[in-house]
């Protein structure tokens, strides 16, 4: 499985990659915002997207909407990473078709569970 991790903060991308490694997912591609991620999707076959919310240039919700409005990209399971206190944001993401979301802090088990549920919801 190839995962696209989208976060403007390089250290957070590394943290997510490290958690993915702990659940035996090693094949990870990174992008620093939604716009960059859309470019990555043009050239890479991605099986799962894990995206942060707050990012410059193109936010997570804008990126989510762009994916879910595209016939091909909408099939890719999409997980949004949120911080606490973003309940309204979560509702907006659900309305926009997010397959799952995960709130920081999270354990490897919690991320695995979020991935399994997102893939099931997306029919993967």
């Amino acid at each position: 499985m190839k995962v696209l991790v989208v976060d403007d903060f390089a250290t957070m991308r590394k943290i997510v990659k490290n958690v993915l490694r702990q659940i035996n997912i090693e094949n990870v591609v990174e992008a620093e915002n939604g716009k960059h991620a859309l470019n990555v999707l043009k050239s890479e076959e991605i099986d799962l997207i894990i995206s942060d919310w707050m990012m410059p240039e193109m936010t997570g919700i804008e990126f989510l909407k762009a994916c879910k409005e595209d016939d091909e990209k909408k099939k890719i399971p999409f997980i949004m990473v949120t911080a606490e206190g973003q309940k309204d944001s979560v509702m907006e993401a659900i309305k926009s078709g997010v397959d799952n979301y995960i709130v920081k802090p999270f354990t490897p088990d919690k991320l695995k569970d979020a991935i399994d549920k997102a893939r099931a919801r997306a029919g993967k």
Binding site: K17, N18, R21, E84, K104
Partner: protein, 158 residues
């Protein structure tokens, strides 16, 4: 200071250590600080606003910060570099987020700003509220040989 302002920080620190670092953090004896200075060598500082106004400062000594970086990111590092500093900023962010969740359950809504990380001993911090500052030490093991480090969670609330 009402105990209801302390427990959310204790719960947040211990929850984040368990989930993100996979280790237990044991709290030592809280102290009241009359100096507006950082307790460790690398410190993530964050302002809180909303129903209450305050500041939290999460501080590690070098070895503790390097352990946090190694555990969070999965890479070895011998010296404090910008990536290590960033990892302390992220940890501060996550602990603050967890604390805000705990405060919400206690009926207080708080918002946080972006954390700032300072490197250096006894750096003066303009805590936006009055002294004394409450300093909560959390002890944790950094290897199997019994070596321990400490994280200080200092905060001040109005």
């Amino acid at each position: 200071m009402d105990v209801k302002y302390i427990n959310p920080f204790i719960n947040a620190a211990q929850t984040v250590f368990k989930t993100m670092l996979g280790i237990e953090a044991k709290m030592g004896k809280p102290i009241l600080k009359n100096e507006r200075t950082t307790s460790g060598d690398i410190s993530g500082i964050m302002g809180l606003a909303g129903d209450r106004k305050g500041t939290i400062c999460i501080s590690f000594h070098d070895k503790g910060a390097l352990f946090v970086f190694k555990t969070l990111v999965g890479e070895e590092c011998d010296t404090v570099n910008p990536e290590v500093v960033d990892s302390i900023g992220e940890l501060t962010n996550i602990i603050s987020g967890q604390a805000r969740k705990e405060f919400e359950q206690a009926g207080l809504n708080l918002k946080a700003a972006i954390p700032m990380v300072v490197v250096g001993k006894n750096v003066e911090v303009n805590f936006i509220t009055k002294i004394p500052i409450i300093s909560l030490p959390f002890h944790f093991s950094v290897n199997n040989n019994g070596a321990r480090e400490v994280m200080y969670l200092d905060f001040s609330f109005e």
